[in-house]
């Protein structure tokens, strides 16, 4: 196996390198990729066409919004996949879990517990900012969502899975994730219903107080929020499933 791997690797490497000399230099502004009308258009026309200064977000959520929708789906799929691979039986022990009957596996360490108490809200606030301001400054749904999810993971780490489960139990996770995608595709289907193409936000100015161009930027915010929902939910679900080997009891 080793030798075979070596041969394969050497061959592939040689193949890949053989083309490198043909590449434009690194950072060359004249390289086809940078000089072609595609990237030019994205840089110069994004703001006029969508009134969004952050080109990445604009390309992500509008020009290539269709891609991004399926990107969200990829995350969603990962969540469900992991769940369905690891899950052994329906989670009965989660159903009958009321607030009073919650017991910690271990009594929480004071320092850790307090720090996390303080930090988690701030983290979540920052996550919201990243999402909301995604189309003006670096950020966006994925980033924000991941940060938000991380806050719950931190909670789970500082206490235990049960504690985090109280905030985002299994069922809520799935609903959040689904709703996230529903929001995203909802914008698309709304455009279809209004008689335009899927994800053609411009038409939405009919139903939102904005000019067609602003409609695009508003809708981008909307879809980013949808993405954030899914990311948040699935990030946490991936963690909790992997950490608890799928049965949502105590972590490993």
């Amino acid at each position: 196996m080793k030798s075979f791997a070596l041969i394969a690797v050497v061959l592939t490497g040689w193949l890949l390198l053989s083309a490198v000399s043909d590449f434009p230099d690194w950072g060359d502004t004249e390289s086809p990729a940078n000089d072609y009308r595609l990237s030019q258009h994205y840089i110069t026309e994004t703001f006029p066409e969508t009134s969004v200064p952050n080109m990445v977000t604009a390309v992500l959520a509008d020009y290539r919004g269709y891609d991004t929708m399926f990107e969200t789906v990829v995350i969603f799929v990962a969540g469900i996949a992991i769940m369905s691979i690891l899950r052994r039986k329906p989670l009965d022990h989660l159903k009958d879990k009321g607030k009073e009957t919650r017991t910690y596996k271990k009594d929480p360490d004071l320092i850790i517990d307090t720090t996390c108490r303080l930090m988690i809200p701030i983290i979540q606030l920052f996550a919201l900012y990243v999402v909301a301001h995604g189309h003006h400054s670096p950020g966006g749904g994925f980033q924000g969502g991941v940060i938000f999810g991380a806050s719950f993971i931190l909670l789970a780490l500082s206490r235990d899975l049960q504690a985090a489960q109280r905030w985002v139990p299994e069922k809520r996770v799935l609903n959040l994730a689904g709703i996230g995608i529903l929001i995203y595709s909802g914008f698309g289907f709304a455009c279809m219903l209004l008689g335009s193409n899927f994800l053609d936000y411009e038409i939405l100015h009919k139903i939102m107080p904005a000019t067609p161009i602003e409609a695009r930027s508003h809708s981008m915010l909307g879809v980013e929020i949808g993405v954030a929902f899914t990311c948040t939910a699935i990030m946490f679900s991936i963690y909790s499933n992997l950490a608890s080997n799928g049965d949502m009891k105590e972590t490993l």
Binding site: T12, M55, E71, P138, L242
Partner: protein, 157 residues
């Protein structure tokens, strides 16, 4: 000398290939399922490096318009203040676009970043599923060493 030139001019393409091959080697040759997965994410990260390298331009910045390009009024509000109607004057989109001029070479090519956001997400998803499968395999076979698993399958037959 030319070789050095060539290397320095395209060094991160060379590096991406090397990293990628490390990952690929791990994926093929490692016996431990988790190590395979680690190799896999190295492999995918290398591709990200490759793509991002495409979009770089000498002396560029992140592909987000400058604040004063988008909000010219705020840019020079201090000497518009005395004329009195500066505060609530908010130029419309058309006005901004009218006197907006963008030098494409100032900004990095946004497209590769967008693509790589996708690639990252896919990488995360694949890694997650891979780990889940590994856990289930460990649960079923009591091992994550490929040869041991194959052994147990043979002995089961």
């Amino acid at each position: 000398m030319e070789l050095l030139e060539a290397l320095s001019a395209k060094f991160n393409y060379w590096i991406y290939v090397i990293i990628m091959m490390i990952g690929l080697y791990a994926m093929i040759s490692k016996n431990n399922l988790v190590k395979k997965l680690i190799g896999m994410s190295i492999f995918q990260t290398a591709i990200i490096l490759f793509y991002v390298s495409i979009g770089v331009k000498e002396g560029d910045t992140i592909p987000i318009l400058y604040h004063d390009q988008v909000h010219p009024s705020h840019g020079d509000s201090h000497h518009e203040a005395d004329t009195g109607h500066g505060e609530d004057h908010h130029p419309s989109h058309e006005e901004i676009v009218a006197n907006l001029h963008i030098e494409p070479d100032d900004f990095a090519n946004p497209l590769p970043h967008v693509l790589m956001l996708t690639a990252i997400v896919v990488g995360v998803a694949t890694l997650g599923v891979g780990l889940a499968l590994t856990q289930k395999i460990y649960r079923d076979f009591g091992s994550i060493e490929e040869n041991e698993i194959l052994e147990s399958i043979k002995s089961a037959k």
